[in-house]
């Protein structure tokens, strides 16, 4: 594993992603759902909404860094707010 040059922050990042995927998989099996049509006009499931949220979080973090708005935790908070919005409306 040494060749992969792991660091704790990146390991934590991937563990969080893996945990989210595991929880989502469990929810999908335990509580099946039907896709619905939201404000984007496309049919989405929880998985789609998670994917969109993660993509948005990536761009929000980059934009935050680019604009020099200070600590990156702010971008994370904003991403979480947006993710909540995406899960409710998309």
């Amino acid at each position: 594993m040494a060749w992969m040059a792991w660091t704790w922050p990146t390991a934590a990042f991937f563990m969080v992603i893996a945990a989210i995927l595991a929880v989502m998989s469990y929810l999908a099996i335990r509580y099946p759902e039907t896709p619905r049509r939201g404000i984007l006009g496309i049919e989405t499931t929880r998985g789609d909404r998670l994917f969109i949220s993660l993509l948005v979080a990536g761009f929000v973090n980059l934009a935050w860094l680019w604009a020099g708005l200070g600590t990156q935790w702010g971008a994370l908070a904003l991403s979480l707010v947006l993710a909540a919005g995406i899960f409710r409306t998309v």
């Binding site: 040059a5 660091t7 922050p9 990146t10 049919e43 969109i52 680019w66």
Partner: protein, 290 residues
């Protein structure tokens, strides 16, 4: 009662392992590189978000992105109308239809680096047909030194390589229109333009969406053809995103900045791929429901 058999899950295990080793593990390594600095020897130093910050402020990256978008825009603006034009004028049936289809498909079968080599030789002033002809006509054409010559050659190469794809997709869309539509148009004395605008174009919408997205995605990732043809030159004139990335990662061995750069590139490609996926699945549903 229906018995459930979950053994089928084991059948996707090989795919999972393959994807893990070909995509997930390398991607994780890139993420790890993007937050560290190295001078080789597998020794790394924590750099945090420094590389992302540097890349977001790097004029070089924004310039490469600009060139990339201009390139994709130009080839779409040429290939899509040209592809539709070719499809409209291809024979509808008989031997010539088959011959045309095979001829159209040929460029698509040629590997990228071979296409680059073909055009590299074709455009040379000393031995290439195109370069020599232009030179003897008195036109100053040299794709290794002239900015416009390099761009025109790269665009001509892409148009030559990929217009067939748009044409074949548009042709397939046109073939699926029942004759009754054309007969109705004839009864209404519709002009040729009206037939195109109100029958053919709407019926081609699905395949054209796919063609545009495919061509945008492919041209956004283009590497081999311009690399073989111009190597990104003259200067940086045809240094597109992927060429710049390889220069940074392998040429200068700046692994950290290159990793940050490629992750941002990856995010953009992910968005385009997702839009592509949504468009395709929605079209399937529409056609399945109609």
């Amino acid at each position: 009662m229906k018995t459930r058999n979950e053994k089928a899950w084991f059948l996707i295990l090989p795919v999972l392992i393959l994807v893990a080793f070909s995509a997930v593990v390398p991607l994780m390594t890139v993420v790890n590189y993007s937050v560290q600095d190295t001078f080789g020897n597998n020794v790394f130093f924590w750099a945090g978000l420094e590389w992302f910050d540097e890349m977001l402020r790097s004029e070089r990256m924004w310039n490469a992105l600009g060139r990339q978008l201009v390139f994709s825009g130009i080839i779409l603006a040429i290939e899509v109308p040209l592809g539709i034009f070719v499809a409209l004028h291809m024979p509808k049936k008989g031997v010539w239809a088959s011959i045309c289809l095979v001829l159209m498909a040929l460029p698509l079968l040629i590997p990228w680096n071979v296409v680059g080599t073909i055009w590299q030789i074709f455009g040379r002033v000393d031995i290439g047909l195109l370069g020599h002809t232009l030179d003897s006509l008195g036109i100053d054409y040299n794709y290794t030194q002239g900015f416009y010559a390099a761009w025109i050659t790269v665009i001509a190469m892409d148009v030559w390589h990929w217009t067939s794809l748009v044409a074949l997709l548009a042709y397939a869309g046109l073939r699926s229109i029942p004759d009754a539509y054309y007969q109705a148009a004839k009864i209404d004395q519709a002009t040729r333009l009206a037939v195109f605008r109100y029958i053919e174009l709407p019926k081609m919408r699905g395949v054209l969406t796919i063609a545009i997205l495919l061509r945008f995605m492919d041209s956004f990732k283009i590497y081999t053809e311009p690399f073989v043809l111009t190597g990104g030159g003259p200067g940086n004139a045809t240094t597109f995103l992927s060429i710049d990335l390889v220069k940074m990662a392998l040429g200068q061995f700046d692994l950290g900045p290159a990793a940050a750069f490629s992750l941002m590139y990856f995010l953009v490609i992910m968005v385009i791929s997702y839009v592509f996926y949504i468009a395709m699945t929605n079209l399937d549903k529409e056609e399945g429901g109609a």
